[in-house]
Amino acid sequence: MNAAVQLATGSKPLIEVENLKVHFPIRHGLLRRQVGAVRAVDDVSFNVYEGETLGLVGESGCGKSTTGLAVLNLLEATTGEVRFRGQTVTRSSEQQMRPLRRHMMMVFQDPYSSLNPRMTVGTIIGEPLSVHQMGGPAERAERVQELLRLVGLNPAFINRYPHEFSGGQRQRIGIARALATSPAFIVADEPISALDVSIQAQVVNLMSDLKAQLGLTYLMISHDLSMVRYISDRVAVMYLGKIVEVGSRDSVFDRPLHPYTRALMSAVPVPNPKLERERKRIILEGDVPSPSNPPAGCRFHPRCAFAEEVCRHEEPALRVLEGSNSAEHRVACHLAEKLAE
C-alpha cells in the first residue's frame, strides 16, 4: 500500500480537522449551573486525504465516536474547525449544511436500531434521495435497485421490512443508504462490531470493494485493532479525548511509538496458540480515568510504566520523532525517543 502513503502525504486533504474540542457540560442544582465538563474530544487535529481510509482506534470513552459525529457536524463542536474540501462545516446552520450533507454520510454501528422498522427497504435507501431532491420517483426506485445490487442484495427485496433481514444484510442496507447520494466521504462507526465473525468478513470485503469501485474516502472508527490494520491506510490512536499517535498503517503497527499503542496491540489476542502462550503481554494497570477530570500532564501517565516527572506536569504535543525521516508518523509522548531505542 505504498500508493496510499504517498497519497496521504501528496494528495490534498478531503477533511481537515483543526483543534476540535467537544465538551459536554455537567450541570448541577436547581439553576442547572455548569459545574464541569466531560471533555470527550479535547483538542484533536487530523486530516483525511482523498481516497484513503483513516482508522480511528481507541477504547470505549476515548472520544472516537464523538469525533466522528463532530466531523459530520451531527454534534456541535465546542471549539475548533472541521473543513470539507476547504469549506467550513462546523457551526454551519442546517440550511448551510444541506448541500454538503449529500457528500458526507455515515454508516452506524447497530444495524438493528439504525433502520426504521416501519419503513420498507426501498423507502429507507431512497430517503436521502428524496431529502436531497435527487431525481423523480421512477429514477429513485431505479437507483434504489441499483444500490441493492451494489451491496449484494437482491433488488426484489425493495418492498421488504428490516426485520426480514439478518444482521449482516441490514448492515448492507445501512451501507446502501449511505451511498445513495454518491457521497465522497463516509464515516463508519464500528460498522462490523455487532456482527458475527463470519459475517464481519463479508461486510469488510464489501466496504473495501465499494471504496475501490466508487473512489470513496473512509473514516473508520473501531476498537478492533486487527480489523483496522486490515482496512486502513493510516491509523490514529485516541486515548481520553486526545490523539496519542498517528501515522501510516505499517509504521504505526510495525513500530508503535506510544506506550499506550504498544499496550493496546499487545492486548489483542492472535489466533495462534503457540504464539499466544509465549507472548509477553503488557498488562495495563487500572482503568481509563474519567474524561470529566482527566489527569494533569500526559493523560496516560497514571497507567504508564515509563512515566517520569515531566509526564505528570507537562502535556506532550503530537510531534514527529527527533531524527526520524518519516514526517508523517507523529506521537504525543515526552519519552518517545528514549522508548524507541
Binding site: 458475527d196 465473525v197 464481519q200 486490515y230 489476542p269 492472535v270 496458540p273 499466544e276 507472548r279
Partner: protein, 334 residues
Amino acid sequence: MSCLLEVKNLVTRFYSDGATIHAVNGISYALDEGESLAIVGESGSGKSVGVMSVMGLIRFPPGRVESGEVIFKGRDLLKLSSSEMRKVRGSEIAMVFQDPMTSLNPVLPIGLQLMEPLQAHMGLDKNAARNRAAELLALVGLPGAVERLGDFPFQFSGGQRQRIMIAMALTCNPSVLIADEPTTALDVTIQAQIVELIKDLQQKLGMAIIWISHNLALVAGVVDKVIVMYSGYIVEQAPVDDLYERPAHPYTMGLLQAIPSLDQRNQERLASIEGMPPDLRAPAVACPFAPRCPYVVDQCRQAVPPLQSVGPHHTAACWRAAELRNVHSFGEIV
C-alpha cells in the same frame, strides 16, 4: 487425569409460537479435572444453551433438555431434583456471565452479594463470611477490598465488576468454572487483565474451566482443547494446537481465515463464509453447514455427518474430512 464432567448426547429444544427451535442437537464431550476447554461458535450455535443445560438453567417453558446425560462426579445432573441441583450449582460448578453490568444486583452492596453464597452454601457465620469475602476480592485483584464491601455495583468499573463476578463464582471453591463470554463486554486492555486473572486463578486453584467464546483468537492461548459448534452441533473437537494448525472442518477453516491477524502484513482478501447460519426451526436432515460450504457434495445434502476421527483426539463432523486434510486455505480447490 480423571474425568470430571461428561456430557452425553445432550439435546435441548425451545418451544415458542408453535415453532420448535433445535438449539442443541446431541452434543457429547468430556472435561478432565483441571483441564480447560473452549466451546467456540457464533450466535445461535448453541454454545451457551449447551452449558446452561448442564447447569440446569433452562427453564420450561420455553426450553427443555429433551435427552442426554450430564455425569458429574458419578452423578447424572439431569436426574437431580431442583434443590439438589441448587447445591451443585454455585458450590461445585460455578458460572461467570458475559455482562458484569447486569449480573450483579444493583441495589445490594457487593459485600452482601458475596457473603450470601458463603452463608448459604458453606455455612459460615456473618463475620467469617465477611472475612472470606474480603479475601476473595483480594484474590481477584481488588485490593483494599475490606473498605469497599459496602459499595454498590455502580461504584465499580466494568472490569472491576467482572472481577467481583469472578470472586462470587469462586466463593465455594468450585471444581468447574464456566466462563460464558466473560470479556465480551470489556475493552481490550481490560479484557487482557481478566484473561490473565482467570488463567492465574486456574493455576492457583486447579479448577477445570469451560470458556464459552465467539473469539477464536481469545481462547487460543488459554485452553487445552477446543470444541467448535455450529447450528447446535459439535462440528469439530481437537487439542488446541491441532485445531489452529490443521483445522479439519471447512467451517473452522473459514472462521480462522475470516479473522485478520495483527501480526500479518498481508492485504489478502479475508476469507468470507458466504450466506447465513441456518434456521434452527427445522430439524437438520443434512449437514447444517452444507449451504455455505465450498466443498459441498451430494452426500452432504442427504445426511448429517457424524463426528469422525481425523487424528489423535481430533474429530470433525464432515463427510469429506479425510479428503480435505490437505486443504490449507478455505475455498482452495481440492
